[in-house]
């Protein structure tokens, strides 16, 4: 314990306007200045002084059970609220445990600030106890990262980190804080000068000449499709996107990350695009003459074979990140800019009134899409065993479609994307780019922290849930009433599905022969455990679980060998769908 910290915080002399503050005090003040009210973390030797200060501050702390859970929780908090999520962990293993969470946030452009403890500066490079070069390790999976070498730099770096994390294309930023930097006391006055990052100026405002070309393409188009991605949600462009779609009478599809950007109950909504996209979405994009892609990066899970993707379409690509444009697919009109600002400008330039006859002119295209929809709807047959799709549909019905939903990764995620129709941005929280199993439960905890009064649901698989099941203790300790529904098929279902379809049913290492009793496990953690084994039990069990006051784990034994359809085999054109 540093004896100096027992001294009064404000110096006695009024002649010196800058009080002597420790790095820990400066950090807490800087976090408060950024509006931080919640931190997810896990203490340890290198951050014990920070925790000592944190406990005295007004910032709430959520004690997770594993640092990966802290990052996913901060991520879920950020996705649900639109604010920057914050984590605090110790050096060495504490820091390395955050890497998967950081990479998850990086892949999905989620604003996070991850603060890691570090050994004192004089020990850096000496292979000290719990020393790891976390700045080096996370360089490829952070938007930017910092090693704070001097206490004098700390306040500026914190401010820069929050600015970088949340602006432009958002992403995680890591700050590595050596113990001596935290403990040193310096004369410190709050920063007043503006942030100076001469090489970082995201381009928000789109080029109007490009937008005029976009308008010309829209006017000519007979078969437009709007393709919305996570960028629409991150930039808060849903209202503008919806207005544009209705104004030009264009159907809308979305990437997994884009679900909720456009109302899932709107007649212009096509459902998700890509590998497990709807038949009509994949067909519509493949037959469109204009594709307006907003805040997307044309992931391989969306495009399938890129040469065949939207082959008849001219493509408009709106994105704040220039590297996203022309990375995976060629583009007719690139527009670098903030999605909301860009769509707002497009809508203004276009005017609210649709030209006469637009609705009639669009009819053949919408009719054709209707035919595709009638030919191959998303479907399943509920029989003797519980179908996972039925569980998701029942959850949608019982929650009135209003819950915040997180998922794990795999079949549970795809069925949720297909059968839970999301009407608002921030409602669907899933690890899209990195595909991180174990994401859903901690993310639900974070979302519940952001919205204590809303129903937060994690739709899980029996494999994924076990990757961060320990966070159930966090939910119980913090009184966070998250509801977990396990679609339990006793398999790593998505890999098993690939093995069934492409590996002659050789189920190599995908069967989970031994599973815990999830009901007892929930009870052991102090949560409520419920189980449904037959179709007629599903509704009552889910209704009971959703209505229960605290955290609940619902174990639903579903059809073991159900597959997610449609499915486009990896690398095939998206028109080549395997159907039910």
């Amino acid at each position: 314990m540093d004896a100096a910290r027992l001294e009064p915080r404000v110096p006695a002399s009024s002649a010196d306007p800058a009080p002597l503050l420790s790095g820990a005090q400066i950090l807490m003040a800087a976090l408060r200045a950024e509006g931080v009210d919640t931190i997810f973390g896990y203490p340890g030797g290198a951050v014990i002084d920070l925790y000592d200060e944190l406990a005295r501050s007004a910032i709430r702390h959520v004690l997770v059970r594993h640092e990966q859970g802290a990052v996913h929780a901060a991520d879920g908090y950020a996705r649900a609220s639109g604010r920057t999520g914050v984590c605090l962990v110790t050096s060495g293993p504490g820091a390395t445990n955050t890497v998967t969470g950081i990479a998850t946030a990086y892949a999905d452009s989620i604003p996070l600030v991850v603060i890691t403890g570090q050994v004192p500066t004089h020990l850096i490079g000496n292979d000290a106890f719990q020393e790891v070069d976390i700045v080096g390790i996370t360089r490829p999976c952070t938007k930017h990262n910092y090693l704070v070498a001097r206490t004098e730099d700390l306040a500026r770096i914190v401010r820069e980190a929050f600015h970088v994390a949340a602006s432009g294309r958002p992403g995680p930023v890591l700050i590595d804080l050596p113990k001596d930097v935290v403990n040193r006391r310096i004369a410190h006055a709050p920063l007043t000068d503006p942030i100076r990052l001469r090489a970082y100026r995201p381009n928000y405002r789109p080029n109007k000449n490009q937008l005029r070309k976009v308008l010309a393409l829209v006017a000519e188009a007979q078969r437009p499709v709007i393709f919305a991605g996570g960028g629409v949600i991150r930039s808060g462009a849903s209202a503008e996107l919806t207005a544009l779609a209705r104004r030009i009478q264009s159907p809308v599809t979305g990437s997994l990350m884009g679900l909720g950007a456009f109302p899932g109950s709107d007649p212009l909504w096509l459902g998700m695009l890509g590998m497990h996209g709807t038949y009509r979405a994949n067909m519509a994009v493949s037959h469109a003459d204009l594709l307006i892609a907003v805040g997307v990066r044309f992931s391989d899970r969306v495009t399938g074979k890129t040469d065949a993707f939207a082959a008849q379409a001219r493509i408009v690509h709106i994105d704040i990140d220039p590297t996203s444009i022309r990375k995976n697919v060629p583009v007719t009109i690139p527009v670098v800019g903030d999605c909301r600002l860009t769509l707002e400008t497009v809508n203004q330039m276009m005017g609210a009134e649709a030209p006469d006859g637009l609705a009639a002119a669009r009819r053949p295209w919408l009719d054709r899409i209707g035919e595709w929809q009638r030919a191959h709807k998303l479907a399943y047959r509920q029989g003797e065993t519980i179908k996972p799709q039925f569980v998701v549909e029942t959850l949608h019905r019982l929650t009135g479609g209003r819950a915040i939903v997180t998922t794990e990764v795999g079949q549970n995620q795809m069925w949720t994307a297909q059968f839970f129709h999301f009407d608002r941005p921030g409602q669907f929280i899933t690890s899209g780019g990195l595909g991180t199993m174990g994401f859903g439960l901690p993310a639900a905890i974070g979302a519940q922290m952001a919205f204590p009064d809303q129903l937060v649901l994690d739709i899980a698989g029996d494999g994924s849930i076990q990757m961060n099941i320990q966070e159930l203790a966090t939910a119980v300790q913090c009184g966070l009433p998250v509801k977990v529904v396990i679609l339990n098929n006793g398999y790593l279902g998505m890999v098993r599905q690939w093995q069934e379809l492409f590996y002659d049913k050789r189920y190599a290492c995908t069967r989970m022969d031994h599973q815990p009793d999830f009901v007892k496990l929930a009870e052991a953690y102090g949560a409520l455990g419920l189980r449904a084994t037959r179709p007629e039990e599903v509704e009552a069990v889910l209704a009971r679980g959703l209505a229960a006051p605290g955290p609940v784990l619902m174990d639903v034994l579903v059809e073991r060998e159900e597959c997610v359809y449609p499915m486009v085999p990896a690398g095939a054109p998206i028109t080549e769908m395997l159907l039910v």
């Binding site: 080096g136 360089r139 930017h144 090693l147 990052l197 090489a199 220039p322 590297t323 022309r326």
Partner: protein, 162 residues
């Protein structure tokens, strides 16, 4: 699409880890680095990196965009055209047998380079020039036996407008 050779020059913050960010970008995304040259500029807070790469045009576009995206990269320029001066330096240790000594010195004279170290059986030659000049010199010296070589990689500067 055919691969093209491009010379990128960039001004970067002169801070620890910045070179690693640039190099890590290349290795992580599978871009190739033919040569790399880094040193402080007249402003001690800023370094200049000159980097030569080979890639097809869409990848070159990605490289330039990805470099610009790095927070510590202040400015990137593609100096592949004629409006830039490009030079490389090499130190070449060549075997100098009695029958070759005069011939080597003649070559050194023709190429306007310098002998900076002499021994009973070797010369070390310092040469500066375009990559073509260095290649031509190496081709002439190779038959004598090149013992060691150290090359700087290309540095380049945009010409000032007249």
């Amino acid at each position: 699409m055919t691969a093209e050779r491009h010379i990128f020059t960039m001004l970067v913050d002169n801070e620890p880890g910045v070179l690693s960010r640039v190099v890590g970008l290349f290795s992580g995304r599978g871009f190739n680095i033919e040569s790399l040259c880094v040193a402080e500029t007249i402003d001690p807070k800023i370094s200049r990196i000159t980097l030569v790469t080979m890639a097809n045009p869409p990848v070159i576009e990605q490289i330039e965009k990805q470099l610009n995206k790095l927070i510590n990269v202040i400015k990137v320029r593609d100096l592949s055209g004629d409006d830039a001066v490009k030079r490389e330096m090499a130190l070449i240790c060549v075997q100098a047998r009695p029958e070759h000594r005069a011939e080597i010195l003649r070559i050194v004279d023709i190429f306007r380079c310098k002998v900076v170290d002499v021994g009973l059986a070797h010369y070390i030659i310092e040469v500066t020039g375009t990559e073509g000049k260095l290649t031509a010199l190496l081709n002439l010296l190779r038959p004598m036996g090149i013992k060691k070589i150290a090359r700087t990689g290309t540095v380049a500067l945009l010409r000032e407008p007249n």
